[in-house]
């Protein structure tokens, strides 16, 4: 019956209307029928039925049907919760309630597609401090608590009128609510911000599937690192696939079931910083997904790369507050990157728009929802077009969520969600008057409100006339009294046509506040009348009569200048921090002339030699190199007289440039995690390593477990992206570890759960892992074998990222660098390797390598050691600084590494210790940090020595590089000068200037009344190998 009545009504009206409207209404009718699923119809009524099917017509309004289409002086017609239509010359049913909105504006209500509206906060269960290896959730769910795709927001959603009102006031009519917790977060729900029962408010359930890298409230240990979260998600995709094909025969799993069901929905991925946009996109590409990525507001810093992903974004309109920089010593602790981000963040939407990125805007991450409007206006000031703003708040979210036929525009059949504003919505003076949600009015500001602004003569009984000024904004007027030249402010509160005023009079014999109540004279709207009390309690009457218009007092020019100044921002740097580039340097042709050249080749150390770099390669080495004969022109000549040129330093063991922890130490085998997923190009220690002559660093997983993560070799191409920093064409490596860390000896009394706790157990971890890998291999081979025979009915084994990596080791496609100290365990691993037919490429640390150098030599393992570390734990009791020398003399390829951002930048000094401890020749010692690590990393064909054809990774020193007194003057990678001592000085000065400029700007912002935050400690942190919980766990 409910469907029939509007039908009858409308058809009756059609009969009396003009032809255009007939067709329009007919169309509406048909659409309306199919869409109108107005709710709560199953509920019994207590009392008499109270159905309303009133038409509302909003006439003479400027209507934004969508962000691109405006109709001036048009009519919007709605009935129930739906729009009938909008247009000029529009039929208005005679029984409609008509609102004349002359001069006002109508827009589709905003949509926030990323909220937790109506969703309770998920709290982390308290953990007893002992490791939790598995999920404790009851039921047939995923093994990991962070994977809960079965979560359905529509089941949890509870309307919250207070919060809804908060959002309605800002112009929002509908939102997507999600459970913002965990890695696979389940389905979100799309709801209206109206009042009433959830049955009425839920517009669509399962509107999107949601993900993040943050394990949220999960009390389980795995994953504890970003790379672990990435691996877990990748494995979940594979498991879900496997489950789809046959899984239920092997295991019943509600989570994977739900995961598969969600795949058809829009996939929304929340990340914590700009680089994670690229990280998420990599996963999307791997599994042929299309993520809509919720960013953090710093995407402008890498807009180009983000645009190349072709992902749509959801961007918070939250901007950082200025820092309180009044105290220079506090200000000193704020990094330039934070200062710069403060200035540039409001530009984010404009810059993303300019980069061609599609994005929705969200109120998520706002400290207070009140900031929304202020920030939108700010973003517009910084170049975001109002049209784009509107689109990002209406059509784009609707489109992304496949709801474009329901919300986001004012078209027939769509939800009657719209706002009425006094001026164009993004005008500074505009106010939202009403927000209609599902055809229900929510008054924000009284639409009928009379504009009281103007100058009045105020006459209080028994007193002289004073001037009353009502200025400011219509809905937030500011009042003042002029008593001759004396001004006093007036406290003003208004409800409808009644109001109150409170003020002091400077020229009065009564001290204290006058309190007046007033109303607009019903006869003459230009007169205000009322009664009140003097400070001493005398009853008074008063009257104020209008005599002139209110004038906005703006000194236009200064304001413009101020805005201009504010909009005048500094450059985005690459990376956007101290020592970042305005422009990333390019390769040039360089001749280093007349230097002492440490070739690391059979030529040895050449005196007065030239080295020519071109197109990223070393093209000539020798005396008096003739560049023109090589047909290389535009050569920049660097005088190398008195200087030394060496191959770039390669750090075989480094933990710089890693984001979100270096250890996934929660399980004993985590070969599925990859440092390559979390390379962090903004670690200042990249630049500092360059200043120490390092050109390549091997970024390792920590040593918290027996089989840690896959490593990543990078060239320190400062300013470039993670992908651009990766060393092209290298052989993949993986980190293994032995000894005390692996058995958690020094991690406290509660870390006694994870297997293994002894060196005996460590061996079994390896034996087990490689046994499983072999069996896995066989399963796949068997499958491949029968696949053809069974014509597609064969069931593939479960793909396991952990075992894939181990299999790569067995197949010599991935190589090991193993953290190791004591001889027994070194011996053990070589035995395990021999048994399973693989090879330990490198023992890293290897402080007792000298005790088993003969065995290592036989096995063919290399040693990458500390020069002189010992005594920091029991297993290094017999570590000696002569270790490198002995291994070298035994014919082992020996490198010295840092495991430490500090030592990494003076590895030349560490190499020199091989001269001191064990008498290695200087030429050979230098190889410990250049050619030998290149060999250990299988990149000695590309780098590690000064040889024609190799990459132009070279360092110019002012002295013998092994001398404590030597300094790096220039560091080249691929022939590009990434560090230059002189330029460093210039950069230091630029940093000081840029900091000073921003600090002045912040002071100005504070003076303007902008909120500020106290200066915190710098974001800067340094990882080391064993920093799993705290630095102390060294």
């Amino acid at each position: 019956m409910q469907f029939v009545s509007p039908f009858v009504k409308i058809s009756r009206q059609v009969g009396t209307s003009c032809a255009i409207s007939v067709s329009l209404c007919l169309l509406t009718l048909l659409l309306g029928l199919s869409l109108s699923v107005s709710a709560q119809q199953t509920f019994p009524v207590n009392g008499v039925a109270d159905q309303k099917h009133i038409y509302y017509a909003f006439t003479h309004a400027n209507i934004y049907v969508d962000s691109k289409t405006t109709i001036d002086s048009a009519t919007l017609l709605i009935q129930d919760d739906k729009i009938i239509g909008a247009g000029v010359d529009f039929f208005i049913p005679p029984e409609a309630v008509v609102y004349d909105l002359h001069g006002k504006y109508i827009y589709p209500s905003f949509i926030d597609m990323f909220t937790d509206y109506g969703i309770p906060e998920m709290k982390r269960e308290k953990n007893d401090g002992y490791p939790q290896m598995l999920s404790n959730k009851k039921g047939a769910y995923d093994w990991n608590l962070a994977i809960h795709p079965e979560t359905n927001a529509s089941e949890i959603f509870t309307a919250d009128n207070k919060k809804a009102e908060e959002l309605r006031k800002l112009g929002f009519g509908s939102v997507m609510s999600l459970v913002r917790d965990g890695i696979a977060r389940g389905a979100s729900v799309f709801v209206s911000l109206g009042e009433g029962k959830e049955n009425d408010l839920i517009i669509r359930k399962d509107v999107a599937a949601n993900y993040s890298f943050d394990k949220g409230s999960s009390s389980q240990n795995y994953p504890e690192s970003l790379m672990g979260a990435i691996a877990l998600l990748r494995q979940t995709y594979l498991d879900a696939d496997w489950y789809k094909s046959l899984g239920q025969d092997k295991e019943f799993n509600l989570s994977l079931d739900a995961f598969n069901k969600l795949q058809e929905l829009p996939q929304i991925f929340e990340v914590g910083e700009k680089w994670s946009v690229l990280r998420a996109d990599k996963i999307a590409k791997e599994f042929q997904k299309n993520y809509i990525i919720k960013g953090k507001g710093d995407e402008y810093q890498r807009a180009k790369e983000i645009a190349e992903t072709h992902s749509s974004l959801i961007i918070p309109i939250a901007f950082p507050e200025a820092y309180d920089v009044d105290d220079p010593l506090d200000a000193m602790n704020i990094d330039l990157n934070d200062l710069k981000h403060w200035e540039l963040a409001p530009k984010n939407p404009a810059l993303l728009s300019a980069a061609g990125i599609t994005f929705a805007l969200t109120t998520a991450d706002l400290k207070s929802k009140d900031e929304f409007r202020k920030n939108i206006l700010k973003a517009i000031q910084f170049g975001l077009t109002p049209q784009q703003a509107l689109q990002s708040l209406t059509e784009i979210p609707a489109e992304i969520l496949h709801l474009k036929d329901k919300v986001g525009r004012l078209k027939n059949g769509m939800l009657a969600n719209f706002i009425i504003t006094s001026k164009p919505v993004f005008d500074k003076e505009s106010s939202i008057l009403e927000n209609w949600v599902q055809g229900k009015r929510f008054a924000i500001n009284n639409i009928e409100r009379k504009d009281l602004r103007g100058n009045y003569k105020l006459k209080i009984s028994g007193m002289d006339t004073v001037k009353l000024k009502i200025a400011g904004e219509l809905y937030a007027p500011s009042l003042s009294l002029d008593q001759d030249t004396l001004k006093s402010a007036v406290d003003f509160k208004r409800t409808g046509d009644q109001f109150s005023m409170k003020f002091e009079l400077k020229k009065s014999n009564q001290k204290g506040f006058y309190r007046l109540n007033g109303y607009i004279d019903p006869q003459n709207k230009q007169i205000l009348n009322g009664i009140g009390q003097t400070p001493e309690g005398d009853e008074i009457t008063w009257s104020a009569s209008w005599y002139e218009n209110f004038k906005q007092e703006i000194k236009k020019d200064t304001l413009k200048d101020k805005i201009k100044e504010e909009l005048n921002t500094g450059d985005i740097l690459y990376p956007n921090m101290g020592f970042g580039w305005k422009e990333i340097p390019k390769t040039t042709n360089i001749l280093i002339h007349n230097a002492t050249v440490w070739t690391n080749e059979k030529e040895g150390i050449l005196q007065n030699a030239d080295v020519l770099l071109s197109d990223g390669k070393i093209v000539a080495v020798g005396k008096n190199v003739d560049t023109s004969s090589k047909r290389i022109f535009n050569v920049q000549v660097i005088d190398g007289t008195g200087k030394h040129l060496t191959a770039g330093i390669i750090d075989e063991h480094s933990h710089i440039a890693i984001y979100g922890d270096v250890n996934e130490g929660t399980q004993s085998v985590t070969s599925e995690v990859r440092i390559g997923d979390v390379v962090y190009p903004e670690d200042i220690n990249i630049y500092r390593q360059l200043a120490g002559g390092v050109t390549s660093s091997h970024l390792l997983h920590g040593s918290a477990n027996a089989i840690g993560g896959q490593t990543q070799l990078v060239k320190l191409r400062w300013g470039r992206t993670a992908e651009e920093m990766k060393f092209a064409g290298w052989d993949p490596f993986i980190k293994f570890a032995l000894g005390e860390n692996v058995k958690q000896s020094n991690w406290g009394d509660k870390q006694v759960v994870r297997f293994p706790q002894t060196r005996m157990g460590v061996e079994q971890v390896y034996v087990d892992a490689f046994t499983r890998a072999r069996d896995y291999d066989k399963k796949w081979k068997d499958y491949e074998h029968v696949k053809g025979l069974l014509k597609g009915t064969a069931v593939p084994p479960r793909k396991d990222l952990e075992l894939d990596a181990l299999l790569d080791i067995l197949n010599s496609k991935m190589f090991i660098t193993c953290h190791s100290y004591q001889q027994g365990e070194i011996n053990m691993l070589m035995h395990v390797a021999d048994t399973f037919g693989f090879h330990v490429n490198t023992f890293t640390h290897i402080l007792e390598g000298y005790k088993v150098a003969d065995k290592m030599k036989r096995h063919g393992a290399g040693g990458s050691s500390f020069s002189d570390w010992w005594a920091y734990k029991y297993e290094v009791v017999e570590a000696i600084p002569y270790n490198g020398a002995i291994m070298n003399k035994m014919g082992i390829t020996v490198a010295y590494n840092s495991d430490d951002a500090e030592m990494g930048r003076r590895l030349n000094q560490e190499a020199a210790k091989a001269v001191k401890y064990g008498g290695i020749s200087e030429e050979e010692a230098m190889k410990f940090v250049t050619l030998n690590p290149a060999k250990l990393l299988h990149v000695d064909k590309q780098t590690g020595s000064i040889l024609v054809g190799k990459d132009a990774d070279v360092v110019l020193w002012n002295d013998n590089p092994l001398s404590i007194y030597a300094r790096v003057e220039k560091t080249f990678i691929d022939g590009i000068c990434y560090y230059d001592l002189n330029r460093d000085k210039i950069m230091q000065n630029e940093i000081r200037k840029e900091r000073a400029r921003l600090i002045q700007k912040m002071i100005a912002a504070k003076a303007k009344g902008e909120p500020t935050q106290k200066a915190p400690r710098s974001r800067y942190k340094v990882y080391d190998c064993e920093g799993i919980h705290e630095y102390e766990k060294n």
Binding site: N333, L336, A871, E902, V915, K916, G918, D959, N960, K1014
Partner: protein, 436 residues
């Protein structure tokens, strides 16, 4: 001549044999015996520690004291009176002094039972490091063999960590080792920096905490100072008793902190209570050199081999920090906190040379300046007539690891055995593999 040198070699082999029998594998060498005969080091390049270099020197010592420091080309000596050691072309230095270490208080950082540097509780002025100083630590000989011959043994942790002492790094027991007991009390100035928390409320709380801890510290010192005026208190307070030295000037207050605000507060605090302050750490000290210089606050800098404290700071700031203090006229020395790491003290000094200090200034920063700051310069820290013969000979420049090779070392004239467990293991395995 030929037969002589063969004889000399034979003697050397004999001595070597003797030594290797005498020193058991895996043991520290025995402490040296007192000097019995005057020793004369001839023709070495003497770096006196006060900036002076004598290219061809004659240095004599007797009964543990330096008796002659002279230019060998001008001085006339009766060689028969001495055990003459020709160190021609080699370098001789005053023994380096390591401030702020936990040598002998820890054997393995991560083995709790070997750690004796951090007492429970936050106010421990009465805790004395000398008591726990382990002369038999296997680490000490490895530090000594790079030229570090004295060290300040310093408790760590808490607000007031305890009382340090200066020791010689060759001794039978801690009484033997003690060079200057209870030289000062160590205080870790409360951090005045707000952690990187998100909420303003948390920042406010942090600010309150900072103010409260400073107030508590102030109260403690006010109480201790009042107590120190009582010659015979009716009720004794061990903590206050141990702090008397601060107020009568016999002990220094070593304040450990890095940042400007902390340093400024600490200086004001010490002035208020009239105690002699030494700043330890002081990464930011270059920013307030006027304050430090004008108030005569010496600085024990932490490792030169460290990273800048803040992202935007000059990459080479820790390297040039010593120079910045030198240039500004602030009294300072260098240190390497820790124990096994202390053997790199000379190279931490060397690095500063690449960034502005002269070699001799760098040397002073690990010898005479340390002695002055620790209050032991009357006896050690430089090669000077009347001072103790605590010195060493290196075949090359001792500040450069490429050339640092300590061949001879003396503490109070006693000839130190420079063997250590690491050298023994080296020999052992070189022999195993038949390597040379």
């Amino acid at each position: 001549m030929i037969s002589n040198s063969i004889a000399a070699r034979n003697i050397f082999v004999l001595i070597y044999f003797f030594v290797s029998i005498y020193v058991c594998e895996g043991q520290n060498p025995p402490p040296a015996s007192p000097q019995t005969k005057p020793v004369l080091l001839m023709n070495g390049i003497a770096h006196l520690g006060d900036g002076t270099v004598i290219q061809n020197s004659a240095i004599a010592f007797e009964d543990g004291k330096i008796t002659i420091i002279a230019d060998a080309t001008t001085v006339r000596l009766d060689m028969k009176l001495f055990d003459v050691i020709n160190i021609s072309g080699k370098h001789v230095y005053p023994g380096f002094i390591a401030a702020n270490t936990i040598i002998g208080l820890s054997e393995f950082e991560l083995v709790r039972s070997t750690n004796d540097f951090d007492e429970v509780g936050s106010l421990n002025p009465n805790i004395r490091s000398i008591i726990a100083y382990n002369t038999d630590s296997k680490v000490t000989p490895t530090v000594r063999s790079n030229g570090v011959l004295l060290a300040q043994i310093t408790p760590t942790g808490g607000l007031i960590s305890g009382t340090s002492s200066v020791v010689e790094l060759d001794a039978w027991n801690w009484e033997d080792a003690a060079f200057r007991t209870d030289d000062g009390i160590h205080l870790n100035w409360p951090s005045m920096m707000i952690d990187r928390v998100q909420k303003e409320k948390e920042k406010d709380e942090a600010k309150d905490r900072i103010e409260k801890s400073l107030l508590n510290l102030h109260d403690l010192f006010a109480d201790a100072k009042a107590y120190s005026t009582l010659a015979n208190p009716s009720e004794h307070n061990l903590k206050f008793e141990s702090m008397r030295g601060l107020f009568n000037g016999s002990e220094k207050l070593y304040i450990h902190c890095e940042y400007t605000k902390e340093i400024i507060s600490a200086v004001g605090f010490c002035k208020e209570f009239g105690v002699k302050m030494v700043l330890v750490g002081g990464a930011d000290s270059w920013r307030i050199t006027d304050l430090l210089r004008d108030n005569h606050i010496p600085v024990i800098l932490g490792r030169t081999h460290s990273l800048p404290q803040r992202e935007d700071e000059d990459a080479d700031l820790p390297y040039k920090l010593p120079y910045l203090l030198k240039k500004a006229g602030v009294e300072f020395c260098l240190s390497v906190p820790g124990f096994w790491q202390v053997r790199n003290l000379p190279f931490n000094a060397g690095t500063a040379v690449g960034y502005g200090l002269t070699k001799e200034e760098a040397l002073t920063a690990v010898s005479l300046s340390v002695a002055k700051i620790l209050g032991v310069d009357a006896k050690v820290g430089s090669l000077e007539q009347g001072k103790e013969a605590t010195l060493f000979v290196s075949s090359g420049d001792a500040l450069d690891m490429r050339t640092n090779d300590v061949e001879l070392a003396f503490i109070q004239g006693k000839k130190i055995n420079l063997d250590n467990i690491q050298k023994q293991l080296y020999k052992k395995y070189m022999e195993k593999y038949g390597l040379k």
